[in-house]
């Protein structure tokens, strides 16, 4: 347990010369401030009262536990190291509070607490000072529990009074449960209940509504409200026994409580009946037999219909992305050229749609299956593997070269395949759909990663439906054109412009290749990027040598053989550089410009120091992330505010697979980037900013709003 000494503790250590060398009387954690205190108004003289105590000041809503902590929790323990002959007694526990948590009940303390312990000094104790050492362990809980401990040191004068905390000790004394002379308490097991009967209570307490807290752990149902009644001077309370009772005491010390009384009354109830066996042959509780059917962990989120609608629109927009537009536009232009019969066109459109939708669903199913198998993945996972990035770069290079007219597929493909294409136009259209998804996938991740990431957290059937809708949206323009030839006829007449348009479309393809090479460079470093570029050159050479329409058969054979050999050599040379994973510090988002690498520990540490934390969850392949990084996060106002407010800036780079980041994203309810999280001191949890980040939003979140 890491403890953070407060400024106060440092100041104390600086003034208290002796204890400064060994430790301090104060331990401060983000949840409590704990201090070892003493009360010896007449000095440490044998026979005179002397007390030590641990004072615990809880931060609001945090609590520690009583000797019987209730359904969960643990009592605070104190282990003393005292000079020979000096002894410390048990903790004199103040009357605790009932602390309900859901269906459970705890007994403990909030706010300021003193746990006093009486000490005895032997006759003839020599020395001017008495050194006290304490090791304390406590469990502090709010909605989470944190086990903490502390080492405390205190030096007390023997011959002088120590009374700086007199009021605190007086308050603790006033809050300790009072023993009642002449009171008689009995406890009896009656069926499933424990019945407590108490007589001889003080007159002032008679007739009042009382509660009770057992000091014995694990006997009654702590959360149950006892049925209580007064009959003349006898108070009776009936409370259900814990079906999982873990103790069978002969005497049960009880603390009776009354609203408005700081201190309870302590009575020791004698148990007058034998305890039933822990497994009593009682009738089965009604609930016990009932078949409980638990709903699937996540019921239909209200946003499902909306998610489907967004996916449909997103799919439509996908057609305009630089990686998809060239391929698709040419496909649609095909209508203008062929003018084939309507039925064949419609069949082709449907086949294409099927290819697109099924490919998206298959991709999503692979992702969901991997996640169910425990893989820490999110949408965009395809691009986290260098090999996938390299293959996509090669694919785009080939398509670009084809569009630029460097080679024709017709001269590359075996004639049997070309024949099959003519015989099975429907299959051809289906495969075009598959290709379209392969080409589109690097664009879905950067532009729609976050929203598709959210879909993954839905139940599988719904998630797949969202991806199917995405595919449908993407296929819709082509499907529409195939179903209504009027649309196709609206296209300009075929002509030489189509050849120019086709060549023009090669350039967005090459631009996509540049981006993919950069992503690969971030993943595996400059050597990997160069290896990929070399590979692409060899590939282009092969494409030209084998597929150029202007080469004769002889030249094709010669160049082709050389080109293929070159490609094989390039593969052998490039493969190690591409496989080489995660060169240390190789990511673009590493510590730079005041940003530090993210870790949960770093966040927790900064929070404990009371600093505001801004976390940027990003990836090189995420275009939105890069856009925000280069605009909003690089804005002078934002940089100045970060410096002014001493905001700790952390960057979590998800370019490569990172289970810790995936886990954190899931905790935020996301499974894609970008995510921007701001932790401010005092706030319960982080605040997530929007994916398209604005300067005002960042300034507002870190408390530097204009």
């Amino acid at each position: 347990m890491k403890l953070f000494p407060s400024l106060f503790a440092l100041g104390l250590a600086a003034t208290a010369l002796v204890s400064a060398a060994q430790g301090s009387a104060v331990v401060t954690t983000p949840q409590v401030r704990a201090e070892l205190v003493a009360h010896a108004p007449e000095g440490l003289v044998p026979g005179k009262p002397a007390w030590l105590g641990l004072k615990i000041e809880h931060k609001p809503h945090w609590h520690t536990y009583w000797k019987n902590p209730g359904d969960s929790g643990l009592p605070t323990t104190l282990t003393w190291t005292l000079p020979p002959g000096v002894s410390a007694g048990e903790i004199d526990w103040p009357t605790p509070k009932r602390l309900p948590i859901g269906p459970l009940m705890n007994f403990g303390y909030e706010d300021t607490l003193l746990l006093p312990v009486a000490i005895t000094v032997p006759a003839g104790f020599a020395g001017d000072t008495l050194d006290v050492k304490l090791n304390a362990e406590w469990l502090v809980c709010k909605d989470v529990c944190i086990p903490e401990s502390g080492e405390f040191v205190l030096q007390l004068p023997v011959n002088a009074a120590t009374a700086g905390h007199a009021a605190l000790f007086a308050a603790a004394r006033a809050a300790r449960p009072q023993d009642v002379a002449g009171a008689d308490a009995k406890a009896a097991v009656e069926g499933p209940d424990l019945v407590v009967r108490v007589t001889g209570l003080p007159v002032a307490w008679q007739g009042r509504e009382l509660g009770f807290l057992p000091e014995t752990v694990g006997v009654i149902v702590n959360a149950a409200k006892p049925q209580t009644s007064w009959d003349a001077g006898t108070w009776t309370a009936r409370v259900p026994l814990d079906p999982q009772r873990s103790d069978s005491p002969t005497t049960m010390p009880l603390v009776l409580t009354s609203a408005g009384e700081v201190a309870g009354l302590r009575v020791a109830a004698t148990v007058t009946t034998p305890w039933p066996a822990v497994a009593p042959p009682a009738p089965l509780p009604a609930l016990g037999n009932a078949e409980i059917t638990l709903a699937p962990a996540a019921a239909a989120p209200p946003g499902f219909v909306l998610a489907v609608a967004f996916a449909l629109v997103g799919g439509l927009i996908l057609n305009l992305m630089p990686c998809v537009f060239p391929v698709l536009s040419l496909k649609v232009l095909g209508f203008a050229r062929t003018g084939a019969d309507r039925r064949a066109q419609l069949a082709g459109g449907l086949a294409y749609t099927g290819g697109v939708v099924l490919s998206f669903v298959a991709l999503a199913a692979v992702l969901l299956a991997l996640r169910a198998g425990g893989e820490q993945l999110g949408w965009g996972f395809q691009l986290q593997h260098p090999a996938v990035v390299a293959v996509l770069a090669a694919l785009f290079t080939l398509i670009g070269l084809n569009l630029a007219g460097v080679f024709e597929f017709g001269s590359v493909l075996p004639s049997s395949w070309a024949g099959a294409q003519a015989r099975h136009p429907v299959a051809d259209h289906f495969l075009t759909g598959v290709l379209a998804v392969a080409v589109a996938s690097p664009c879905t991740a950067p532009f729609m990663g976050a929203s598709l990431g959210a879909a993954i957290t839905m139940p599988p059937v719904q998630a797949l439906a969202v991806f199917a809708a995405l595919g449908l949206g993407m296929a819709l323009p082509y499907l529409a054109a195939s179903a209504w030839p009027a649309l196709a006829r609206a296209l300009p007449r075929p002509g030489i412009w189509m050849q120019h348009f086709k060549t023009l479309m090669a350039f967005p393809m090459f631009a996509t290749v540049v981006w993919l090479v950069w992503v690969l460079g971030v993943q595996v470093g400059i050597d990997g990027a160069v290896a990929l570029l070399g590979l692409l050159v060899a590939l282009a050479f092969v494409a030209w040598a084998v597929g150029s329409p202007t080469l004769g058969p002889k030249a094709r054979g010669g160049f082709g053989t050389a080109a293929v050999l070159l490609l094989v050599a390039a593969l052998v040379w490039a493969a190690p550089a591409l496989r080489q994973d995660a060169i240390a510090g190789g990511s673009a988002a590493q510590a730079s410009d005041g940003w530090e690498p993210w870790s949960t520990a770093r966040v927790a540490q900064a929070q404990a120091e009371g600093r505001t934390v801004f976390v940027d969850f990003t990836a090189a392949w995420c275009v939105t992330c890069q856009f925000n990084k280069r605009t909003t996060l690089a804005a002078d106002d934002v940089k100045a505010a970060f410096a002014d407010k001493q905001v700790l800036r952390l960057r979590a780079d998800w370019t490569k697979r990172d289970p810790a980041i995936t886990e954190q994203l899931t905790r935020y309810g996301r499974s894609g980037v970008p995510v921007y999280a701001v932790y401010t001191p005092g706030a319960a949890g982080p605040r997530l900013l929007s994916e398209i980040l604005s300067v005002d939003e960042v300034l507002g979140a870190i408390g530097a709003g204009r």
Binding site: L104, P243, R371, I456
Partner: protein
Amino acid sequence: MQMLARTLVATTLALAATAALANATVGQPAPAFTATDAAGKTVSLADFKGKHVVLEWVNPGCPYVVKHYSSGNMQGTQREATAKGVVWLSVNSTATDSRDYRAPADMAGWMQQQKAAATATLMDADGKLGRAFGARTTPHMYVIDPAGKLVYAGAIDNKPSSNPADTATATNHVKVALAELLAGKPVSTPVTRPYGCSVKYSSM
């Protein structure tokens, strides 16, 4: 005043919820249940008739759960049990509105990361299963015999600390109970007091 109102509401909710908690009784048939595991599969207690079944309440956000996983104690107990044909079901009853909540895939990922050897991880975000068994803490352990009778309820071991090193010297109640059961003997300590964090039930 607002504080008082909030306290009253919380108390009332707690009392209302109490009725649904802690009805499973050692020596009696365990409550039948059907739940969904982290992979979305349906799991019923009835599926395991004829086998010993261990239920383990788990919450990766709880330091006491972390104690038993970081020390390897829980995984070791799981492996030893499942190797003997015992069915081990880890149950996460953390409510969706709790800070500790994990989505099913996330939970499955955590279990895999811990190299846990549980037969299945059940997602119980609405707390029905937890309330039926009266699970209070994480960890909280239950053993059901092949006839479907609840034969152990309580702690994983006898050292209620957060120190992982203590697992080496503690008496593991679940190992003892399973050894006794597999030897045809009754469980010598059928109930102990569980220790750990409260189960983060939904307040519904």
